[in-house]
Amino acid sequence: MKFLASFFLIFNDIFKSLIIYKIWSRIALKTMFIKYNRSKLGFLWPFINSFFFAIAISVVFSEILNQDFSTYAPYLIAGFITWNFFSSIIAEQTTIFTANSSFLKELNYNLFFYIFKKSYELLFIFVINILIFIFLSICFFNQLTFDVLLLVINIPLIVFLSIFVAYVFAVINCFFRDFVFVMNNMMRLFFFITPILWHAENSDGIRAHLSMYNPFYYLINLIRDPLLSNDFNEINYIIYLCLLVFFYLLAVILFNRVNKKIVFYV
């Protein structure tokens, strides 16, 4: 019984932080754009960051790869804003405890408070990016269908997984400060070996392998497929579930063993 209960202790802390959503969501909204305070375009920057690169690359790469711009551009933009969301989760959540060390040592919020605050910021920007994409899609690309409603399920699924991933990575980074640098390099690599700039469909050889054994491919498809009205593919959900179980178990092990010691290491 006690063994069984140990799998759910982590939810105690998760719920404790979840119910004070008013605190972290307000703070997130108040502080997320501070770094743009002194720039002229201000809070537009996170959105410009997403679309400027994606649109520019669409123009260049549709030529280089001999692709039709009107199908290649939405594919790349959808993939890129999703990738941006994933990579910012990993880059920012990995350092979330070390970056908030002075808060951890003074305020009596548990660790998930800071993860939720950051998740909320990143999700806020991501959802606006998705809405901008939908707007562009309706205006220019004309390939949106009701499939897009699947996002109402798929985005929360991704966020749920990201909570455990964030916790695991942030805890590891408290003990091994090299971890964040390793992850930054990995993410840069994965950007190119994940089908974002290139298509995986109907491919063989190395392209097929790079996508088949790449967890990001399936996670990106959870968001990209509904945006592009691609066929529903249950393999995405199966891989998702495997990743969820894997990271949940890792999070449980770390939570039960070191959660109370984190404050001494930040």
Binding site: I20, K22, I23, R26, I27, K30, T31, I34, K35, N37, R38, S102, F103, L104, K105, E106, L107, N108, K260, K261, V263, F264, Y265
Partner: protein, 219 residues
């Protein structure tokens, strides 16, 4: 009311060993007792405050507090230098668990206490160190709790503000249930506290009337 029972707090060290910062501390602090933590650097004062605050977890033993405490360890915690004083008050208030509405209701009080004039609406990066401290301190005018845990922060700003800040803390100390202060300033300790807890190497050396404890400590 604060109950501490057989409290032991251990810090993990890099070599895999542990450093015992507090060992087997037991005491009860009655309602309306204000306690000064006295002892040399590294004697465990801050560790005890942080454990009471709930941020350090005991290796053994237990603590219980009659209500959630307000912690004042690093007065400028969370100060955003590119935000105005006004917005900083709101952000800090949110961290302390106030709603935005509650902060806005009291913000005039904060503004007049801080005496920053127009600077209250300017980014904090334009403030001098003393002005920052004033702002950080003034937020306390709109927060009240039953228990305060304070670590060496009193003594900010110029002479006039210092007295004002002291009066503010004094009024909090007089009206709350428990006020726990770690400090090396004897006069401050006598002004604020009626009990003293002398910590030495993580152990309780003496707990009792403030004058007795200070006399023994200074001998």
């Amino acid at each position: 009311m604060i109950k501490i029972k057989n409290l032991t707090v251990e810090y993990p060290l890099d070599n895999g060993r542990k450093y015992t910062a507090l060992s087997n501390v037991s005491l009860e602090i009655e309602d309306y007792d204000n306690v000064a933590l006295i002892g040399r650097n590294g004697s465990g004062k801050s560790t005890l405050l942080r454990t009471l605050a709930g941020v350090f977890h005991p290796a053994r033993g237990s603590i219980s507090l009659s209500g959630p405490p307000l912690t004042i360890f690093d007065i400028s915690l969370g100060m955003e230098k590119d935000e105005s004083g006004f917005n900083n008050v709101i952000i800090k208030g949110l961290y302390y668990g106030l709603s935005e509405k509650e902060v806005l209701t009291g913000i005039k009080k904060v503004e007049s206490f801080a005496e920053l004039g127009d600077f209250f609406y300017k980014p904090v990066r334009t403030y001098s160190a003393g002005m920052r401290a004033r702002l950080a301190f003034s937020i306390l005018t709109i927060i009240s709790r039953d228990i305060y845990l304070v670590d060496e922060v009193i003594g900010v700003g110029d002479k006039f503000f210092n007295q004002k800040a002291k009066d503010l803390i004094k009024s909090k100390a007089d009206s709350c249930k428990n006020f726990v202060l770690a400090s090396h300033a004897d006069q401050l300790i006598r002004d604020f506290c009626n009990k003293g807890l002398w910590l030495d190497n993580g152990k309780v050396k003496l707990f009792g009337d403030i004058n007795d404890v200070l006399e023994a400590y200074n001998k």
